[in-house]
């Protein structure tokens, strides 16, 4: 055949064709870029005004883990064992079956509570209910949702496809999957929203004996957190327990901790609805540094700039269709009857 001929005659015509092709494609891309209006950057969402949440004060926590047991009961979760005798629930981390856990920071001799050097401290690990959650942005099928009023980040197993993008996306490592089940679900704290209709609130806060975990509107909780930070360490103050926004008064007098001057969750990723106070540096107790700008907003800005209203894809598709049609008919995509085409 004449492969050689076409190859040898190619260069001159080809270069011109190539340049023409580049111009056509470039023009198409330019047209696409101009038709898709510069999508406004998606801002980081802020907490809804009536957002509900928790305030965890590590200096008040005594590590009794009543909240861990109460969470298990409230969510009908089975015990998880990490000891040989398997006598009682001893999870080492949150999992598809454990939505809340108290972790411990240890250093040196562990003599003093809430000291970074030769001390120990507790930290609660559970869903932070972000103002702008990565899991909600990541979920392809709206199985993760954020309630517009309460701001609770909820999970719907009936919608979930089990892709586990939420597991990978969350900066706190909160949504977790049940790998041991053929019909595994994602497990995470939903702030006991299923118990509200019975007059209950988050089980962890209900049972906390010291008020280390406090339930309420996040705006109230934030004000309470700031009040504590303004107090003199070692002085006496009143600590509420249970439900800060409307429960019966269960407050008691206690000593003010040696707080780091930072309310974790006030601004992280646009703010979270669960807030934390600690005497030990937050990075050391497993709370990552997060900028006030959420990664969900960056990701969605990219997505909407490229695909908003499908303008750009359709513009590029239109241009590509035009160029392809011209080139297909010119190159004669189908040699009229390919002699070798018919099989046995």
């Amino acid at each position: 055949m004449d492969n050689d001929r076409s190859a040898s005659t190619a260069p001159v015509g080809n270069r011109r064709e190539f340049i023409r092709g580049c111009l056509a494609a470039g023009g198409a891309a330019l047209a696409a870029a101009t038709t898709s209006r510069p999508a406004a950057a998606r801002e980081t969402y802020q907490r809804p005004p009536e957002a509900l949440g928790l305030l965890y004060d590590a200096t008040l926590c005594i590590g009794c883990k009543a909240c861990v047991a109460a969470c298990k009961r409230a969510n009908d979760n089975p015990p998880e064992f990490s000891t040989v005798d398997k006598l009682w629930d001893t999870p080492l981390d949150t999992s598809g079956y454990t939505f809340n856990i108290i972790k411990m920071y240890r250093h040196g001799t562990m003599q003093t509570k809430d000291a970074e050097e030769n001390g120990y401290a507790f930290m609660k690990t559970s869903c932070m209910h972000c103002a702008d959650p990565s899991c909600v942005s990541a979920c392809p099928v709206t199985a993760m949702t954020k309630d517009p009023t309460t701001g609770i980040v909820a999970y719907d197993a009936e919608a979930c496809v089990g892709c586990r993008y939420c597991v990978v996306a969350c900066p706190f490592g909160i949504p977790k999957y049940q790998y041991d089940s053929p019909t595994g679900k994602i497990g995470k704290c939903e702030l006991c929203r299923h118990r509200y209709q019975d007059g209950h609130y988050s089980a962890c806060a209900e049972v906390c004996p010291t008020g280390a975990t406090l339930y309420g509107r996040t705006s109230d909780l934030l004000a309470e957190a700031k009040r504590r930070l303004a107090l003199k360490p070692g002085s006496l103050t009143t600590y509420p327990r249970g439900n800060l926004s409307g429960g019966p008064d269960q407050s008691y007098e206690g000593y003010v901790g040696n707080y780091k001057q930072h309310v974790y969750g006030e601004t992280e990723y646009g703010g979270t609805q669960v807030l934390k106070l600690s005497a030990v540096d937050f990075a050391k107790v497993g709370m990552p540094y997060l900028s006030p700008k959420s990664s969900a907003s960056t990701s969605e800005t990219i997505q909407h700039t490229l695909y908003g209203g499908l303008l750009m894809p359709f513009a590029v598709l239109g241009a590509m269709t035009y160029v392809a049609k011209r080139n297909v008919s010119r190159a004669g995509e189908a040699p009229p009857e390919a002699p070798g085409g018919e099989g046995r």
């Binding site: 055949m1 004449d2 492969n3 050689d4 001929r5 076409s6 190859a7 190619a10 080809n14 064709e17 190539f18 092709g21 056509a24 981390d93 990565s134 942005s137 990541a138 392809p140 099928v141 709206t142 197993a157 919608a159 979930c160 496809v161 089990g162 892709c163 586990r164 597991v167 990978v168 996306a169 490592g173 999957y177 049940q178 041991d180 053929p182 679900k185 497993g286 997060l290 990664s295 990701s299 800005t301 997505q303 490229l306 695909y307 894809p313 598709l317 590509m320 269709t321 160029v323 392809a324 049609k325 080139n327 297909v328 010119r330 004669g332 995509e333 040699p335 390919a338 085409g341 018919e342």
Partner: protein, 389 residues
């Protein structure tokens, strides 16, 4: 009439039974058995997946890397139909075949990994799907592309079955599918890079950038050419055919040009974001960064000159280097440089590796079966055929 005359595609012929197909059959059977266990006993029964590394070999390897390695059809179509380089036309069908298998099997692989796979249709159902989700874009787009590719490739079957009328009717609208076959992979290959963005600080800054969609798109195009180099060399050797040097040589030059642009974007981005110092730390992440980029630079040394590009061995090695670089770019971002906190580690289990191997075997089997029975590869000129016998 055609301005460029190519040998029309024709079945290669030959037996389907041999050592290679037998091994492929065994590997595919093992894969099927593992998938059955997974379906009845959950992901933990066969994988090493955990909540720190919830995406393992099946997602990152079979889907993200597998689909990128299957970009040959897209890259060659871009060259032939958009940049009007008709002389590459004989490469279209073989490249498209590779893409067809790569993507179809990537789609099958994700179903095995999905924890609640029976809900998969939610991704296409209004009321469920979430347009803010990068995963939605990727899943919807890949599914559409698989359908488009089967339509693009259907002339091969229509020719074989002698359905001339249907073939001619399809020909009239084929340009629409060709255009779709270019836009859809551009969209989801870019989005595969955007997938990293929402993971925020868990991904090492050397791979965490809003420019990720551009980097992944360029890498996918480059991978497409790299895979065509690789496959052409392998097919020529396996079928004892003449190597298509007059096509591979200039195509490799296009690939090098794209790679130069890629490297410019990649390093400008890393330097601009002040992430480069991370590449000079004494850890395996930094090492992996340099191995990845060394594989991107190696082809310039291997096939930088026209002379070197006439050497099939060098073309083959350059193809392998390009494939390694693309594989590492994805492995690094999603697994090696993904740090989800202390205490987590992941390495694929034997069963996970066997499933990936089984998928690879299915691709090899398809690549043996289809060209032998259907008109995919260009008919060999007479002297070469004589030599083959």
């Amino acid at each position: 009439m055609s301005t460029l005359h190519h040998a029309p595609p024709a079945p290669v012929g030959g037996s389907l039974f041999g050592a290679t197909t037998l091994i492929c059959g065994v590997l595919m059977t093992v894969m099927a058995a593992i998938i059955v266990v997974r379906m009845f006993f959950g992901l933990a029964s066969v994988t090493n997946l955990n909540d720190g590394y919830s995406w393992g070999l099946w997602v990152v390897g079979d889907v993200f890397i597998g689909s990128a390695l299957a970009c040959g059809g897209f890259s060659v179509a871009l060259l032939v139909y958009i940049f009007n380089q008709g002389q590459y036309h004989p490469l279209v069908r073989p490249a498209l075949l590779g893409s067809l298998f790569g993507y179809t099997l990537a789609g099958a692989a994700i179903t095995v990994d999905l924890g609640r796979w029976w809900n998969f249709w939610h991704i296409f159902w209004p009321g469920y799907f979430n347009v803010n989700s990068v995963m939605f874009e990727v899943a919807a787009c890949i599914t559409l592309y698989i359908i488009v590719m089967w339509i693009e490739f259907s002339p091969v079957f229509l020719e074989k079955l002698g359905m001339r009328e249907a073939r001619q009717k399809l020909n009239k609208v084929l340009f629409v599918f060709i255009a779709l076959g270019i836009v859809l992979p551009m969209m989801h290959q870019a989005s595969l890079g955007t997938m990293l963005v929402v993971m925020g600080g868990q991904v090492n800054p050397l791979w965490q950038t809003p420019l990720q969609p551009l980097i992944y798109l360029l890498s996918a195009i480059i991978l497409g050419y790299g895979v065509v180099l690789f496959e052409s060399c392998v097919a020529a050797s396996a079928y004892r055919r003449q190597i298509e040097l007059h096509l591979l040589n200039p195509m490799a030059r296009v690939m090098l040009g794209t790679m130069a642009f890629y490297l410019l974007v990649r390093f400008a981005d890393v330097i601009w974001r002040d992430a480069l110092p991370l590449a000079f730390q004494a850890n395996y992440v930094a090492l992996s960064f340099w191995v990845e980029n060394a594989c991107f630079i190696a082809p310039f040394l291997l096939i930088g000159s026209v002379e070197a590009r006439r050497n099939p061995a060098r073309l083959f090695l350059a193809g392998v280097a390009v494939m390694l670089s693309g594989i590492l770019l994805r492995l690094n971002g999603f697994l090696i440089a993904f740090d989800t906190g202390p205490g987590w580690s992941y390495f694929p289990s034997v069963a996970e590796l066997l499933v990936t191997l089984g998928i690879f075997a299915a691709e090899v089997f398809g690549y043996i079966y289809i060209p032998r029975r259907f008109p995919v590869l260009p008919r060999e000129p007479a002297p070469a055929r004589a030599a083959q016998a």
